[in-house]
Amino acid sequence: MLRALSLEPDRCTGCLQCEMACSYENEGVFNPAKSRIKVFAFHTEGRFAPYTCTQCDEAWCLKACPVDAIVINSETGAKDVLEDVCVGCKVCTIACPFGTINYNSSSGKVIKCDLCGGDPWCAKACPTGAITYVDADSTGLERMRAWAQNSPSGSASFVTPTEKDVQHYERVQL
């Protein structure tokens, strides 16, 4: 069963643990600037929204690539960038209408979410359950609706850390 990242802005506190986890997995450095997931802050609304590639069906990035450097990973369903094939033309970065594939000037290639090969670090690091790795079918909407319903308008909303076991982090790359 393919799984996907479910992102729930309502649960996000803006801690950026996800960005650090992502950059560490992929680049070996705590660096939000190199994270594939990005949390956007809405100060006056008091909201945060984590956002990354949804591994969309359309796969605009993959189709736009002139050299076939983006492929579908048969195990995870993620659209993976093959670093050694990418020539850095950036056409994918304007093709993805979600802005979730980006040029990394230090490598001269593009980077995007690859679901950490099926073990997404952002979801492990997120303390509140704003990012979870779920069965593709049950993603998002249902859970998001459920959340919206149990936070009745009128009283304040807040999120506490979710219960979970101790997480283990193993670096696939490098």
């Binding site: 650090m20 303390p127 506490t160």
Partner: protein, 617 residues
Amino acid sequence: MAWTQKILRVNLSEGKVDSEPLNMEWAQSYLGQRGLASKYLVEEIDPKCDPLGPDNKLIFTTGPLTGTMASTGGRYSVVTKGPLTGAIACSNSGGYLGPELKMAGWDMIIFEGKSPKPVYLFVNNDSAELLPADAIWGKTVWEADKILHDVHQDSQIRIACVGRSAEAGCLYSAIINDLHRAAGRSGVGTVMASKNLKALVCRGTKGVGNIKDPMGFMQATENGKKILRENAVTGAGLPQYGTQVLMNVINETGALPTNNMQKVQFAGASKISGEAMHEPRKSDGKPNLTTNAACFGCTIACGRISTIDKNHFTVQNKPEYWGSSGGLEYEAAWALGADTGVDDLDTLTYANFVCNEDGMDPISFGATVAAAMELFETGAISTKETGGIEFKFGSSEALAKAVELVAAGEGFGKDLGLGSKRLCEKYGRPELSMTVKGQEFPAYDPRGIQGMGLAYATSNRGACHLRGYTVASEILGIPEKTDPLVPDGKAGLVKAFQDATAAFDSAGICIFTSFAWSLDDVAPQINTACEGDWSTERLLEIGERVWNMEREFNLKAGFTKKDDNLPPRLTTEKADSGPAAGKVNELDKMLPEYYAVRGWDEQGVPTTDTRQRLGLS
């Protein structure tokens, strides 16, 4: 390694910026942030220098865990000689600025001298330049933030900035970063403005790498997070109510200073409590609290994001205050509320917004207003001095007007900007100032919590709860319960808290983790991140070393034993209600014992033995 091993030195007088290596020998003895920056300050400035003169220095500093996945690893501190106290000052802030500075590749920035013209520093990874601040000088923090974003066209820059209050010389001005996070206490913002330095704008995309044992570190920080999420305070209480979880608790303990510390319980406490912030308002049906929010890296998320009722008198026709912004923390709610007798949540939130907007420490501001109210009610000042404002306890209008005046540095706001000590001296009633070493008290009455009296009296930056939070033990039972009403054993308790806190503050993490973590939980995180062997004992020793170093700075600055005191009210006027009724603070019993456990002589001076033991030359 975890340190970037680089310091940015900015000579404001000459307009020069330079990079230099971090003194790694010192890093091994003082760790980082509070400890390490204090070491630099102590080595580099004359303790007797004028805090607002060019000889003082201002250090922005991160810790080794800043910008890492350690929970709460988002802290930075500002270290300088404080103008409110004349003592060493170190104010700690969260938000996102500290990590950004570290990710730009810098452990610290040392500002020295004074710029001939208003400037701000733009740090963009390796490059750092002083830019003219003409467009933002005279502007509020919030306005300056907008303008700077506009100029730099990068929504990812992080900004620390001083407001108009600092420019006007208010002595308790804060440095505000990320719009509502503050290096709040002791007037560090006033020092910044005195140097004609309006803001620090930072963009760092290099990240923090160089971790000694990366996988060990991931595991150590994960273990730490598990403890935080399973702890009742850090896993439930703080996210739900923030530090405001304390308002009702402390009131019931009979240690909620009220009306300039005349009383120890506040009738309106429940109206301004964390619980009240959740209640729908009668007027518009919305709660004060929008949500909780985290600082960088924090898995607790105690931050309050609040709104004010649009129709409230403070914000009518002022849409700039209608959105969500940083809401009341306990200390602010107390100072702006209980201490002034005001129990209107919207007014307090408004005052808090303005404190953020123009960079004032809400504790010192609120406590100074409280002192002014007592001066007013006792007839020491009248509407003549206040410009027509009736400074009565409980007056929302007076509080709202006062915060605007201090923010703008206008009228009676100039007097209020002096802080409680100078204000009360000016009007001939010094005994009405609730301060130690010139700094206003926070939200725990030492008559109801004995240990806090000693902690205030001996705090190196003047009255402060964040230097030795014995409330944890005396009220919350962390790590073990002690009786808040007895002075016995408090000397050792205060020392232990002070030393441990200094270690937490030197690491780059938030002191609130200490509700759940002891140094045993911190040591493995530092040990896997940093070169060297880092045990609990070593961290404690660093804490003690830092404490003694700060003490020595203050002694050289001219402080003596007689400054380790409390206002007479707290040692002579009995608490009149609650569990502490009939009590005064018994500082005189605790202080000699404290000197002894510290290894100081009777005058409160570290003995040669102590100095040698700690390696203080």
